[in-house]
């Protein structure tokens, strides 16, 4: 089988170059590993060049990064990625309300102008406590009140912790919007103001594109990006590194530039969740606004940028 041959070639070239007398541990080929991780081969093989100038033949699905993700059927989108538990940590001491996160999210999901999945709230618990900006998106709760009340299984919790919406199933009753205490959900009251090309795209729950009139929408933690080992759009767009995203099972979160162990980060910086007493068990943790990078400057008016 050509796969085995190329793997052997790969290992041999690797061994030949590692001439620094190091102790060799089990060298598992990255493609073997991907195949074992349960990624299905697409059947399309490509001939690529390695740095040494050798030709390598690989199934396209095993490449990391993958050039193009194959479309995922709705049944798989409803089940989610096995073995992961996605978590987000938002560092409030770094947020300046630049709203780059909001712009990137709105663009990536092609939302109706004026509507955002991600909102940055000016918060102040009481008169004498400090005001701060709080980026708030869907909490992807472990006991989601929105999922409990949906009558048609249009919103659902997956095994990787993400709560998604299927706009092809939603009947627009808006019970989930009434049930969500975090005001995470938006409704498409009219035909979304998107281009005809976007509206014609095949609908994907994981991408939440295109949005449909008469259905509910919300932050989806960008599972299509997670499948490609990329950060959600908001995390990537923030210039101050406010958003950390990762897998709780791996105990790691990253904002692109910095990577931390999740348990250590929350413990050291005293992370907390919103409205813990409601028992929704959110998947978004906040790091309190201490040692702030920027002073809090209130906006003149709650002008929405898009």
């Amino acid at each position: 089988m050509s796969d085995n041959q190329t793997r052997r070639d790969f290992l041999l070239t690797g061994l030949a170059i590692a001439g620094t007398g190091a102790a060799c541990t089990s060298k598992k080929n990255i493609f073997e590993e991907t195949a074992e991780a349960g990624v299905k081969p697409s059947g399309k093989k490509v001939k690529l060049l390695s740095v040494d100038g050798n030709i390598v033949e690989v199934d396209e699905a095993f490449l990391k990064p993958i050039p193009e993700m194959p479309p995922i059927p709705n049944s798989e989108e409803r089940i989610g990625i096995a073995g992961r538990k996605f978590v987000m940590v938002i560092d409030l001491s770094r947020c300046k309300s630049l709203k780059k996160c909001q712009m990137a999210c709105n663009y990536a999901h092609q939302l109706h102008p004026g509507i955002s999945f991600l909102k940055v709230y000016p918060m102040q618990e009481s008169e004498h406590t400090a005001p701060y900006w709080q980026p708030t998106n869907c909490m992807h709760c472990d006991e989601p009140p929105c999922v409990k009340v949906c009558p048609v299984d249009a919103t659902f919790k997956r095994q990787d912790g993400i709560v998604l919406i299927d706009s092809d199933r939603c009947v627009g009753c808006r019970f989930c919007m009434a049930a969500c205490p975090y005001s995470s959900r938006i409704f498409n009251w009219e035909e979304p103001g998107i281009s005809a090309a976007t509206a014609a795209l095949p609908y994907s729950c994981e991408k939440s594109v295109p949005q449909k009139k008469g259905t509910v929408g919300k932050c989806d933690f960008c599972p299509d990006r997670a499948r490609e080992n990329k950060l959600p759009h908001c995390a990537e767009a923030c210039p101050n590194g406010v958003f950390f995203f990762g897998d709780m099972n791996e105990d790691t979160v990253t904002n692109g530039a910095e990577t931390f162990r999740f348990s250590e980060l929350i413990r050291d910086k005293s992370g907390y969740r919103l409205m813990e007493d409601l028992g929704t068990k959110p998947s978004v943790y906040y790091l309190p606004p201490v040692n702030r990078n920027f002073p809090y400057i209130p906006e003149a008016d709650s002008v929405h940028t898009s």
Partner: protein, 411 residues
Amino acid sequence: MVLVSLCLVGLAAYIRQLYYGLGVTAMRDYVSWGIYISNFVFFVAISLVGSLITAVLRLTDVHWSTPLTRIAEIIAVSAITFAALIIIVDMGRPERFYHLFMYGRLQSPITWDVIVISTYFVISLLLLYLPLLPDISILLQHQEQYPKWMVKLYKGMGSFWKNAPAQFAIMNRSVGILSVAIIPVAFSIHTVTSWLFATTYRPGWDSTNFGAYFISGAFLVGAGSVLVAMYIFRTHYKLEKYITESHFDKMGKIVVLLALLYLYFNINEFLVPAFKMKKSEEEHLTGLFAGEFAPIFWFAIFTSMFIPIFILLFKRGRRPFPAFIAGILVVIGSWFKRYLIVTPTLLHPFMPMHDVPANYRVYFPSWEEWAIAIGSLAAALLVITFFARLFPIIPIHETIEESETTSHASL
């Protein structure tokens, strides 16, 4: 005619809504439930009157209410039908209505609502239809008086009724069973409707009191609507002999009792959280008592409870016309009360209202919403009027039976 034109305007508005989407209403992300839902709750509330007058009073061996049973049942059937229709109007994707059956989730209170409302509809329809059978045969005895199409309708509906004792036996037993069965179903429809709100965390909705609060309110508005219908049919069809002043007297007393009961639940619902003034509820309660909703709130409390109690407490108030006015006040006050249950809570979310267009922060229904809501109320009244034109609004046979029993008794 007025009713038909209101319905047509409502229909036109609905077509507009279907085309442009729910954006034609004033509902937005915060007030995502508006007067369609408060209309829905109002309709479900009124529909409980069927179980009250027909079932509860019948089971407690009350006989004076017999002439009122059909009025009560038709109000119930009409109201529950339009409750279901107004919900479809409120849906963002009404063409996907079948999803509720194909993909329904048992865990959702909306699924429970669908189940109990369809059950209540069937039971109320049976409770309307079965006692109608003897009356249809009476009508058929005078068929020369009626146009051909009406005679055909009567024949299709009840020509098999031969006044046979066996038939009466079955019918009476069935009506008895229905009267017992309808009570738990009636309680559950309004309790489940209250759970659409009580299963959320929001201030004003997160209350354990909601089931009982809603049911007592439902009985009140149902009884009030019967007072109104009694008076209208009595004067319009000259039924003074059957709907007597004594009926208004007794119905009036019932309304006073129900209003006091509803007042009791209101006190529990508002005074207890006000004592604590939890942060999330503080804004909501101050808004209701003294803030932007105070005018509507006090208007609703006075017109649905205090003023009718005051009118009907006195014997002179329980005469037909004053009772009719009290009934109207109850109904109007109750409609606004339902609005106050739905909208103010939604305007006080936990998170600040931010990063949204300006029209998201306020709610005043648009003309389409008013047209559709008023259209649905008009349509419900239209159904009742049509029914009254086609069928006797007083159960003839039962009333004859009643008067014979009473005259025998007095002998």
